[in-house]
Amino acid sequence: MSDASLSALAAQLAAKQVSSRELAQQYLDRIATLNPSINAFITLDADKTLAEAAVADALIAAGKAGPLTGVPIAHKDIFCTDGWLTTCGSKMLHNFVAPYDAHVIQRFKAAGMPSLGKTNMDEFAMGSSNETSYFGAVKNPWNTTYVPGGSSGGAAACVAARMAPAATGTDTGGSIRQPAALCGITGLKPTYGLVSRFGMIAFASSLDQAGPMAPSAKDCALLLNVMTGFDPNDSTSLEREKEDYTRDLDQPLTGLRVGLPREFFAEGLNNEVATAVEAAIAELKKLGATTVEISLANSKLAIPVYYVLAPAEASSNLSRFDGVRYGYRAPEYTNLDDMYCKTRAQGFGAEVKRRIMIGAYVLSHGYYDAYYLQAQKIRRLIADDFSAAFKTCDVILGPTAPGTAFKLGEKSDDPVEMYLNDLYTIPANLAGLPGMSLPCGFDAKGLPIGLQLVGNYFSEAKMLNVAHQFQRATDWHKRLPPQGEASGARSEG
């Protein structure tokens, strides 16, 4: 049960072999067993989960079930969830019970998918290891002395350990793809504007995008069908015809042109990761794909550009946390200004404060042109490189991260070392392109390796097609971490 695909679970529910309540309870039991050693969840509320499952059971009984009705899902704690604690991994929101649902939550509720709980994350989604969470680090289910990646580390870890059949994540600079890679699952960041950001606590608004995280590409396609769609409450939500992201899953890959950016295979890439990615390329060639070398010459500037733009936007977005309307307020202060300063000093963790300060500086008088404007211009160059590349290829392929998971504490004292983890994922965010990560092997330590695909705007169905065909030919995405194998009975679907 715990390793069944979303479509297999949905089929069991439709055939009344299991009820949504029973299914939710099975996952809650598994969470109770495994979560203490993984710390993937910040908030669990079995009563709420089972009540939502009962609603799903009623829909199924009434013949009103959709494709995933009754299948439970875990939500990243960045999504406002009516009546649930919504912390964004921060002391600043340690007591914030959201008074409304994010658009993404509304959609999953409307689809009849009960919430299993709120997953742990780097504070305000700022981090690549999940170590900046106020609620403690998440552990990688493949080896609990290693990080799961971040910022959607709880989401990736809970799916990897099969504590949830699927989870939501958000990706500003790689926060879906990098933890998916480090935990051995599949995760997709859609084209900017496809998924509404309403009720998703803002980090860097021109880059933030929510997406699905699940064992397989097929699961992600089904979840994307639920998540995407126009929302008037998000000014960047795109008005487009609704797509079925499963439509091309079974297409053959004959004639597919795979672009290999030489900059993604250069120095800094771990040898074992390079070998696994090369093997994945060979597999795709067997399936009929051809490769073409491309250049994303400006992508080496993605990290400096990102560490100007994202903190600049964050310093503006996080100014709302002032101890007045919600969340933490310092217990002692002398006047209003002192209340702001103490509340923010005590409520934010070190990494969040660093980024707010970087942002405040690059936007301050006299520095705007040299930093912010220059970064925006190079952002254009990076996006232009992708446009040129997509003239000669259908999808871009490379590693998701330069290495596999690293040890807890190994990089937490060196911000720049940590930032370099997102070297290959940030360019797609800057350009607004869709990207995904899928498992393509393991290193000698038994830690998962992620393969990244980047598609042209709105080519999610094509990327999912490539990933699904790869997953039909390989079984990396079906491998389970040690705890998972102990109790997981395999079932296909």
Binding site: N95, P232, T236, Y326, N335, A345, K353, Y371, Q376, K377
Partner: protein, 95 residues
């Protein structure tokens, strides 16, 4: 470029984050490492390049000028640190 501890304090002040001398010292080193990384951007010739503010070239939508929100002040103020008579309470700002 190198930030001094006074620069760090000035930035913290802009960001409304209280910081003491010891923290300013520690933060100074970290911020300088990050700004060294950022400085690699300065070598790029970007003359004639239009800045890219956003991933999608879309204009802001306008909606009809009608009230769409309902009054939910009770729910929104229920999560506030201090409220009295439907007003958010903050320290006195006018003597």
């Amino acid at each position: 470029m190198s930030l001094s501890p006074d620069d760090v304090k000035r930035i913290a002040r802009l960001a409304r984050i209280e910081i003491d001398d010891v923290q300013a010292q520690a933060t100074q080193g970290q911020l300088n490492t990050i700004f060294d990384l950022i400085a690699t951007m300065q070598a790029v010739d970007t003359s004639g390049i239009a800045p890219m503010a956003h991933a999608q070239e879309v204009t802001q939508r306008l909606r009809a000028d009608i009230v769409t929100e309902t009054d939910r002040h009770a729910a929104f103020q229920a999560v506030a640190p201090a409220v009295e008579n439907d007003l958010y309470l903050v320290p006195k700002v006018i003597e």
